[in-house]
């Protein structure tokens, strides 16, 4: 496949080029999904220009203020996984990004890339969902911020338009006392995509009542989402074995409701139930 390679030096230039070559351009940073498509000849024939943003410092940062954590779209998975701010305030995201691919892939792959690829099995997405992550999207004339859960259309298709660029992912700092968990189930012990994954964030008060509960299972629905009906089973209550069991069953049945019966359902149905039960039991510290 032939194309021209452009390496703009700031964000404005990127947006300008996106406008100029609308429909004929692709942005890459880590390139870990793009390069596979290139090898397999699965790129859209309309692409004539590749814009590389991998060296743009404008997109590589992890910042915090009093309220939130802000991550540049071009920050790599390893940078996020090893960052002290992330590990302090959002260990669930550190764990999730640390589970992606191999060390080599994590040194290149970016958070924005993981999101834009929109795989139902993406690992960073469930973690960002339980953090109520937001995505900042820029064009040459506009900037908007949308919740991550509104960003997906269907498997492998996100809402990003041809003249748009994700510049930042952010989330409000969860209360310090929050507990969280992330679990990824794979077929071998390293370098594998998730068969199933799940992220949980919770806050209990001093009498163990659940004040915050966010559950985002992955690899079971066409687009990743928080399972609010399930969260409601436990919200404002003290967690018990029975309630957790009920929540786990709810995740399972919601999966079938949203995805129907597929070839993999016979396996996924009981296993996502088990994974939900275990992660809630662990995070909510129920005996």
């Amino acid at each position: 496949m032939d194309f021209d390679f452009l390496q703009p030096t700031d964000l404005d230039e990127v947006c300008k080029l996106l406008n100029e070559y609308k429909g004929k351009v692709k942005i890459i940073s880590g390139g870990t999904d793009f390069m596979i498509d290139l090898h397999k000849d699965e790129l859209s024939p309309e692409i004539e220009y590749i814009i590389d943003v991998s060296n743009l410092r404008d997109l590589n940062y992890i910042k915090e203020d009093d309220n939130k954590i802000i991550i540049g779209a071009g920050t790599t998975h390893n940078e996020i996984a090893n960052n002290p701010i992330v590990n302090k305030w959002a260990p669930v995201l550190a764990k999730a990004t640390n589970s992606i691919g191999s060390p080599q892939i994590r040194n290149r792959g970016t958070l924005a890339g993981n999101i834009v690829t929109a795989s139902p099995a993406a690992d960073s997405v469930p973690a960002l969902l339980v953090l109520n992550g937001k995505v900042k999207i820029k064009t040459s004339s506009t900037t908007k911020e949308i919740p991550l859960e509104d960003f997906f259309i269907k498997p492998y298709q996100s809402k990003i338009n041809q003249d748009e660029l994700i510049v930042e992912i952010s989330f409000k700092k969860p209360p310090m006392e929050c507990k969280s968990g992330f679990k990824k189930l794979t077929r071998r012990k390293a370098v594998d995509k998730a068969r199933l994954n799940i992220a949980v964030l919770a806050l209990q008060n001093n009498i163990d009542e659940i004040e915050i509960l966010r559950i985002a299972p992955g690899s079971i629905t066409p687009t990743p989402e928080r399972f609010e009906k399930t969260e409601n089973i436990l919200l404002n209550k003290r967690p018990t074995k029975e309630l957790i069991k009920k929540a786990a069953e709810q995740v399972s049945s919601t999966m079938i409701e949203k995805s129907g019966y597929r070839w993999s359902t016979e396996y996924k149905k009981p296993v996502i139930k088990t994974m939900t039960r275990r992660i809630l039991t662990r995070v909510l510290e129920v005996e």
Binding site: F3, I28, H39, D52, R108, V191
Partner: protein, 161 residues
């Protein structure tokens, strides 16, 4: 028509300025333009790790990087480990002494990942070694002697210093 790219970067300590087509990968530039055949192609999809090189201090799969993305970068390949002809880096010697080489195809990639590990962690335990090498696959050795080699190299390097 594809406009050729002028690529300026440093490889194994040497500055280079090359004219390449933009759809070339870093892997192709290293192997074809710079004759660094120690960098291998095993799968082309960033899985096997045979093409691993160090770019700006980090291990990456060179099959996953477009040539232009290496602009102004510093690359280290296996050819850069042997500083003088016949004087092997302790890791290379340890790989030989511990029996960590069979067919040798994964070896350059393995060496780069282990070299990178020892740069930041001179005394890794077994789990740290496995985590660092997780992206390098070997079909011949069963990995055991590779782990032994890295431990041996670390030991020797620490004794030296």
């Amino acid at each position: 028509m594809m406009e050729t790219l002028s690529l300026e970067f440093k490889v194994n300590g040497q500055e280079h300025k090359l004219s390449v087509t933009p759809n070339k990968r870093l892997l192709d530039v290293l192997r074809e333009d710079l004759n660094l055949i120690g960098v291998k192609e095993g799968c082309s999809v960033g899985e096997c790790g045979a093409c691993t090189v160090i770019m700006d201090g980090k291990i990456i799969n060179s099959c996953m990087v477009l040539a232009g993305q290496a602009q102004n970068s510093e690359i280290l390949t296996v050819e850069g480990l042997e500083k003088e002809e016949g004087k092997l880096h302790p890791l290379q010697q340890a790989f030989l002494d511990a029996g960590a080489v069979q067919c040798g195809f994964c070896t350059p990639g393995m060496l780069m990942s282990s070299y990178n590990l020892l740069q930041s962690n001179p005394d890794p335990d077994e789990e740290e070694i496995k985590d660092a090498i997780a992206g390098n696959f070997c079909r011949c050795t069963g990995y055991k002697q590779i782990i032994d080699a890295i431990k041996l190299a670390a030991e020797r390097m620490n004794r030296q210093s």
